[in-house]
Amino acid sequence: MSKSGIIAGAAIAALMGGAIAAFAVVWRPAIETVEPPAPQSFEPALVKRGRDLAAIGNCSDCHTIKGGKTFAGGLPVPTPFGTIYSSNITPDPETGIGRWSEAAFRRAMRSGVDRAGQHLYPTFPYDHFTNVNDEDDRALYAFLMTRPAVRAAAPANDLAFPFNQRFAVAGWKLLFLKGGTYKVDSTQSAEWNRGAYLVDGLAHCGACHTPRNALGAEKASASFSGGDVDNWHAYAINAQSRSPLPWTTDALFHYLRQGWDPDHGVARGPMAEVTANLSSVPENDVRAIALYMGSVFGPPTQDHLDQAEATRADIKSLQAQPVSVQPASADNPGALVYQAACATCHESGRPLPYSGINLRLSTALSAPDPRNAANVILSGIRPVGGERSPIMPGFANSMTDDQIAAVLNYLRGRFSAQPAWSGVEQIVRDARHSETVSLQTAPAPESVAGGSMQRDKP
């Protein structure tokens, strides 16, 4: 054999080897379809556990379109790579998961591959769900397979090349999917481990609260240091938290369970759905999550404690002499707007959650940017149907962008220990734009709650 022949042979062998390796990375077999299992074939206790787990996993939030049937999918999820539509996870045999076996369901949870062997986009957070154990996957499967089947095909994803190629997802997984179920940390308590298992697994807290890299994967080095979701900022929930008062395990439990906490205010935006779900699951699980997250926050630094002291002192002095009765200087339009439109509730001294929070305690005003505060000023806090819940009127129709920007700048300077925000005007314009869009796609009044039960609220 000539030398060139050997080289060619080696090249062909290498290419073939590469192709086989690539095939091994990309290709996944289909899993046989099954006859949709009868709802009666599942143990009621298993279904009930699955229901609680689905609430902890917040499944309905992404897999239900506003005003649509629960778990029927079709929700557009905007990503930097295009729009991905959530899938129908009701047991409909044609458009849902009715013909999926439990093994197919478990494979989807663990490695992001659907029954037919197609790679799923990581908007479905299998980088977290890979940690869910077999027993919990079985319960989730039992719960979903006993829901009413809804015939609803999800619209086709709207992604640009190369992101519209599913094999690209296989490459993504090589880089970012660390398979394997949760490993117990034996130096920690059982409750802590339970919390870590839920937070890093099914509850997928990092999906919103951890920043993402250019390829849309969570930055492992920056776990829980704050991320983006829709047009909201998901706050840092580790040592970088800028909440005026440090979070404690008790405060976390109260907030996650009740949707509000006297030291931190009410959960709004996408977090409202999360706390609504957590109000109906076993209390022990929420306590475990709070315990684990408390350890993620870590003990507050001396700086944070000093700041908290200053915050408490300022609240006392505000109670003695409210801003609303101090003469506002006419050249600060933000102060004037605050006194006229905001102070009547936010300085009322009525207890939370039904009054306005003392803004000295607001995490929104201490956040890195004013998005969340702008969203709340524009849209207010809508009451939740059929429940007692916090309220605030929106000011989108009565305040101009300039007035909202002025009041945000004033609030930041007056009530937060953080440096001034930049680009507030543009952020307000963007927030108004997305507020308008979300109102245009607002649900019809007969919207169905995502399987959550009546909240146990004061």
């Binding site: 609303s324 707007v337 439109a341 009127p393 129709n397 009565s398 305040m399 607002a442 019809a444 009044p445």
Partner: protein
């Protein structure tokens, strides 16, 4: 003194800048169509139109109305010459106790100015923030559709009333 433009007329108002628009309308200007319901911006009985948009007058302080134009139900039409939205609500007999109806009409009016032929879903979604305890919702829905039809067929003056 603040100048407040209501239904096309300027008024000199002597009130603190945090005075809610609703109080000025009812107590100073004696325009009583807008109602006090909850005082928290949650029921919609106080709804008026400011620069074409539905605004809750009970939580809108005077300060925010500088240079803006307020329209109340009185500015749309009169007993003798009801506006299409008023005619439609009368013809559908959409009021029972009537307390919420002025607010309903104002929010519906703002919707129709923006969206002349709203769908059922758009009307429901828009009026979601206005509460009615009598339960005349189906008649209110019909009335808004009827008003859309009336506006489409009648010649309109600039203030929204039919000629």
């Amino acid at each position: 003194m603040t100048t407040l433009k209501v239904n096309g007329h300027d008024h000199e108002i002597d009130a603190d800048p945090d005075t809610p628009l609703l109080y000025v309308l009812r107590d100073e200007l004696k325009l009583n169509a807008a109602k006090f319901g909850c005082g928290l911006g949650q029921c919609g009985a106080c709804t008026v139109i400011v620069d074409g948009k539905a605004v809750l007058s009970c939580v809108t302080p005077l300060l925010l109305l500088k240079g803006k134009e307020v329209t109340t139900l009185e500015g749309l039409g009169t007993v003798e010459k009801p506006a299409p939205i008023q005619r439609a609500f009368i013809e559908e007999q959409a009021a029972q106790c009537g307390y919420c109806i002025a607010g309903m009409m104002m929010r519906a009016q703002a919707l129709l100015q923006r969206t002349p032929k709203p769908t059922d879903a758009q009307i429901r979604s828009e009026l979601q923030t206005n509460l009615c305890r009598c339960g005349t919702h189906m008649r209110i829905l019909r009335a808004v559709h009827r008003a859309a039809h009336l506006m489409d067929t009648a010649e309109l003056t600039t203030n929204g009333s039919a000629q």
